[in-house]
Amino acid sequence: MQASTELYDVKVVRYFIIAALVWAVAGMFIGVVLAAQLYWPALNFDSEYIQFGRLRPLHTSGVIYGFVVNILMGTSLYIVQRTGKTKLFNHSLAWMVFWGWQLILVLALITLPLGYTTSKEYAELEWPIDILIVIVWVLYAVLFFGTIAKRTVHHIFVANWFFGAFIIVIALIFILNNLALPAYFMKSYSVFAGAQDAIVQWWWGHNAVGFLLTAGIIGMNYYFIPKLAERPIYSYRLSIIHFWGLVGFYTWAGTHHLVYSSVPVWVQNIGIVMSLILWLPSWAGAFNSAMTLLQNKAKLKTDYIMWFFMSAILYYCLATFEGPLLAIRWFNMLAHNTEWIIGHVHSAALGWVGMSGIAVFYYFIPRLWGQNGLWSQKLLKWHFWLAHLGVALYAIALWVAGIGEGYMWLAQQENGSLAYSFVEAMDFKAPWLFVRFFGGACYVLGLLLMVFNLYKTVTVKLEVNQDAK
């Protein structure tokens, strides 16, 4: 590692990974607060700044732009150097991207609680911050692709295709969705209205999931899973199918968020069909990653970091099966706008993205600081089971709550009158919202164990090393 720090730019990678860790804990902690507010409304404290409506975008932005984008920027800038056997394209550019992105996150942290929002889901930040995001994103693209361009090996490694698609598509959809006319500083109106705006919004919304939370994480895993398993990727051909399947079909699927809405029926149907097709490349990719891990059965038996990756893949399978299912009209009629959708998002976000991220933190952070093992395997085990308990409780609670309320909203008596009032459906799900809060809290508690374990790993072993000298 000592030698490689001179060969590669590693310091900026460390900064990105620490930022990702901080935002993971902060963003998910805010999520637990929100879950508590939905059970104890008094926790809104009659405060303008932390009431649910303003806090929720801070949770989603914190997790997506804080945790996920930071970890993807950090790992992509590391992987692109290692797999291209070259230093970063430009050292100062890397720091501009890092500090630029952290500035954006701090601005989000300030402006969202103050009520500056476009209302567009996962794109709430107002226009001056959007412009800043575009600038930093372009710099990041130049840095990443510039580094690929100066690689000293012939082949572009699989992970970099996925990171490349993540960077390109996010730029494309972010700009189109955020086209807005500023009324004045920090207030703008979308240039699209009503049904047209909704189509653009969900084209963005679903692709943010597709390219940030899926393609980006897949890119990261295509490097770290083989590294950790000490085996090559199971099938190169499958990774090509996985890649073009995702890029080709994902951008079409967003309108499944608008089934039964007032957008044209053909637009809805394209979204439904393409979502069903997406199932295939998703499971092909999951199979590829799972087989890579399974090639080293001996390590899989004892290594809980391997188990975190394996769990992430299984949750990816669940989410990419549940997604197409929810796009089917009958299921959509029942599930649309209910807690089931929140549960679906979180089995992917906590199960797939979260556990992939956790595995990378555990594997990567000790190595970035020149250590080989973890401070405590016992804490790692505790974290593993806490995380699983958390996601399972979360998903089960919201399956019950969501399917229950969806059924109650639609149920009619024989004479055609509605069987339940809205309040009755709300009261039915209340205890399940508590279970969800508890599940989320377990998950965050696990994260805190990880932070403590990694802190000890990095600091204690350093002391031992110094004593040895």
Binding site: H154, F192, D197
Partner: protein
């Protein structure tokens, strides 16, 4: 260069990804964006008044759309519960759309005049006074904070540019109409307007 593929050439990787990913823009997005005039012809929508615009921006700023939808799907029990189903042409002045994605509270598409102004005020001040098991936060500050009206002309001019048919005299009068109102009063006026323009349309 043409003898290479995307695994060897950065240019091919970038160009191919852009092309493949943007195919959906051409098929799905653009055909809908160019239909504005056609959609407007069928619309019964009436632009919001200055006060209602101010109220709508309070709705956005407080994040009401996070928990309330404004999209009644054309499904029998849903129409029974929430009133007339949305049509494509209803929301032509909705910059941006406020359809939402989660129904933690009820749908608000046709909320207007369902409850009195007084009920809306009490409910916003403390929802649990009228709905004991409500999960909604209380919004007491809305009735303390007063709107200056200084920004309303800029807002309406932006909306006018985008295509809401405000006359210049409407915009000139906007500031005085809004000035001195609390945020809560403006919000209640917006809520009472919801669904009023399409209330006469019974066709499904």
């Amino acid at each position: 260069m043409l003898s290479k593929d995307f695994t060897q050439s950065l240019v091919i990787l970038i160009v191919a990804t852009v092309l493949v990913a943007s195919f959906s823009i051409v098929v799905l997005i653009v055909p809908n964006l160019v239909r504005t005039d056609e959609i407007r012809l069928r619309s019964m929508a009436i632009p919001l008044t200055a006060v209602q615009v101010a109220g709508r921006d309070v709705y956005i700023s407080e994040g009401c759309h996070v928990c309330h939808t404004q999209m009644v799907r054309n499904i029998d029990p849903e129409v029974k519960r929430d009133g007339r189903a949305n049509k494509e042409a209803d929301d032509i002045y909705e910059y941006p759309n406020l359809w939402g994605s989660k129904r933690t509270g009820p749908d608000l598409t046709n909320l207007g005049r369902k409850y009195s102004d007084q009920w809306q005020r009490i409910h916003l001040m403390n929802p649990r006074q009228v709905v004991p098991t409500s999960l909604m936060p209380a919004y007491p500050w809305l009735f303390e904070q007063v709107l200056s009206g200084d920004d309303i002309e800029d807002k309406m001019r932006a909306l006018q540019t985008l295509g809401v048919p405000y006359t210049d005299s409407e915009i000139d009068k906007a500031r005085l109409a809004v000035k001195g109102m609390t945020k809560g009063e403006a919000l209640v006026q917006y809520l009472q307007s919801l669904g009023q323009d399409t209330a006469g349309d019974q066709e499904r």
